[in-house]
Amino acid sequence: MRFAKRTARGAGGSLFSGKGSKAPPMNPVVRTVLQRLGLGLITLFIVTIIIFSAIAMLPGDFAKAMLGQSATPETVAAFQREIGIDRPPVERYFAWVGQIMQGDFGSSFASRTGYRRTVAEIIAPRLYNTMFLAVMTALIAVPLALGLGILAALYRNSWFDRVVNTVTLTTISFPEFFVAYMLAYLIISRDTFIGTEFAQSLPEWLAASINWVLNLVPKFPTLANISDQTPFWEHVWRAALPSITLTLVIVAHMMRMTRAAIINMLASPYIDMARLKGMSPMAIVLRHALPNAWAPIVTVIAFNLAYLIVGVVVVEVVFVYPGIGQLMVDAVKSRDVPVVQACALIFAATYILLNLTADIISIATNPRLLHPR
């Protein structure tokens, strides 16, 4: 048995760690960012291979399953030629990547009978809708979560902190669809509550006041009917409920992580030192904590935005919001592999891009790298 020695490299070395020492002196920030970008590209490359292999890994009887038992051997052969099983994988892979570069994701398996439906034309409008929902949610959730997280950290162990802690611990345990249906139920109760047996069993004044409170809730649409013609503000209104659902789930996660990151930061000796130098709490947070807090905060945001794009899938299905998440689920059910591949690639690329951005911001704000020895 051989254990690794205690060396400076070893644990954290990246794929590129060997190169740095021999390259001509370069600003460490630029060098690290380039390394990170390179690593991101490699990751993306491997991810495309994995996603591409999805077709190669299809079981042999897949064509039969797709086309039904009545398919003739000729149609099966035609289908197999269509998905390219007869060509060598490497050749197909590069053809596939080349097409994607030009925005061509191939054609859907659903485009059998006579007319061709390209994956790109199916995805485009839905991608816009999903981006719309995600950006809208992020705009609400990120400032809210950061604000609450910083407050909870500054007033830790206060009643505010305890309440927020318990509420968020509960919320992160809820499945997204539970939160979604609870909200939907709340909205529907505006109209139905007064007629329920439960309301009739209550004293009249109580039922009336509950009904009054329920009617304060805006009557957000519980089904998101959205088309290309929907005007912008109408789109916002119809996407409100999905967005609020996602916000609730994300805020809980992001707030807890922000709180932990800030508390960790406030425990550093240089913050103690700033206190002993008589700095005001405001100066401590702005001058001493914040310049060092970008890395953890950005990491928290990126992690949660990445989480957001996953949450989107479930929420879109609940509210029948015509986005890429719902499309992907439908494609999985009908085993429309080209569409699934395209969706997976879009999700993965977004996810990689978000994490990459977070890493680069962390690197660019690290004083040790900004000001090398």
């Binding site: 048995m1 020695k5 425990a267 000796p269 030192m273 008589g278």
Partner: protein, 550 residues
Amino acid sequence: MKNRNSGQREKGTKLLSIRNLHVEGFSDERWHPIVRGVDLSLKRGEVLGLIGESGAGKSTIGLAAMGYAKPGCRITQGSIQFDGIDLLAMTETARRRLRGSRIAYVAQSAAASFNPAHRLLDQTVETVVAHGIASREAANRDAIELYRRLHLPDPDTIGFRYPHQVSGGQLQRAMTAMAMACRPDLIIFDEPTTALDVTTQVEVLASIRKIVQEFNTAAIYVTHDLAVVAQMADRIMVLRHGRTVEEAETRHMLAAPAEDYTRTLWAVRKLAKPEVPAEDYLLTIDNITAAYGGTVKVLQDVSIKVPRGRTIAVVGESGSGKSTLARVVTGLLPPMSGSISFAGHRLPSTLKERSKDVLRRIQMIYQMPDNALNPRQTVEEVIARPLEFYLGLKGAARDRRVNELLHMIEMDESFLDRLPGELSGGQKQRICIARAIAANPDLIICDEVTSALDQIVQEEILKLLMRLQQEFGVSYIFITHDIATVRAIADEIVVMHRGKVVEQGLKTEVLTPPHAPYTELLLSSVPEMDPDWLTNLLERRKRKRVGAAN
């Protein structure tokens, strides 16, 4: 700026008075007393040394003098009067205005206490500007002047560097400049040189002392090192378990300590084993060169002979390669070149190649017993394992031997079921010693085994090690940076510097002049109990420099 409050600044008037201070800390779901009724007073321009072992409450008192309690601590009783103001009665905002401007703080770890995101100069002048004492330009000029007075290299430009760009000793001086920036009435020094090597420590001590005297600043100097405090303080207060043991003028206390406890504090320095010359050699290290992965050689052509049944002390500062030497001997780090022979046979360079019997004969004891003992294994499991593993002892024989070993390290059966978390630092180190002895080794490598322990415990551990050597004839390679420990235990000494052996020989040979230049620097930098030691040393070095220049 320098003449602020000049009317009240003459020496001798009362500045700080603490009465019946009680501080508690919160841990394990309840409040524990840390400081229990300490009185303290300080005149303008006076330096008070607070000395005590870990847990004595000395740092807590230092912080309390600023009206501050660490997070998780609270001041429960007492009064703190600073220049006639009751620090505990005032609002937090008012206290904050005092901090930094009239009472300043210098922390132990400068590297962690400087904000990595800002330049040294900006951090130095921050309080001056924030408290509205001077304009930024004036403050910058003054800071550069302070850097110069503190003997920082390149005082004009060093302020434009970031904390990670300068060395530990320089940072500590920059932090003193930061504390001095507002010309406070009082500075709290919290172990400012503990993390530094002795040769660096001398320079920082000299700088601190000089600037405190020049500006006639009162100071509270917190440390566990009596020799250091003897150089810095006018008066010394000895603390134990949050109470005052005794308090006296420095010279008076050094000459005639009133309490037994105070005497025990420097007992280890009186411990001095007479050396015994070697009869034959157990281990011969021949021209070893070693590196961790890269091209930087941590050890270069090191040759050392370890005498049988004796103690050889390997002395050096951080980065001297002394711990790397231990890793090479134990087989954790195969050397690039060179060889080691052990009891007449060549010692294989990797662990894998060494036989069980060779492994048994070389044992190791670490600096931090906390890390060296598995927190999930009981004392019995720890001591019994080498017995089972090397000697194949089982059942009653094994139990008997475990008990013998426990008695040998002056502990008993009641400890068998304890986990390391339930033992004190000294007890943990004893268990580590028992684990090493259990293997019946010929050689034990002791890597800074007493550095993490309090003075009194250090002495007990050293005595125990010496007794075990007499009983079993085991050889020690004793790695340390502490000259007092070397005096106490060594027969022979190896001095290392930057991966090379500077000097080696019998203890008296190495410790008596003439020395190699580095040995001279190292030995002369070790603080002594004499309160005039630092003054004399600086005088000597100055003369020598002048002499060399002529």
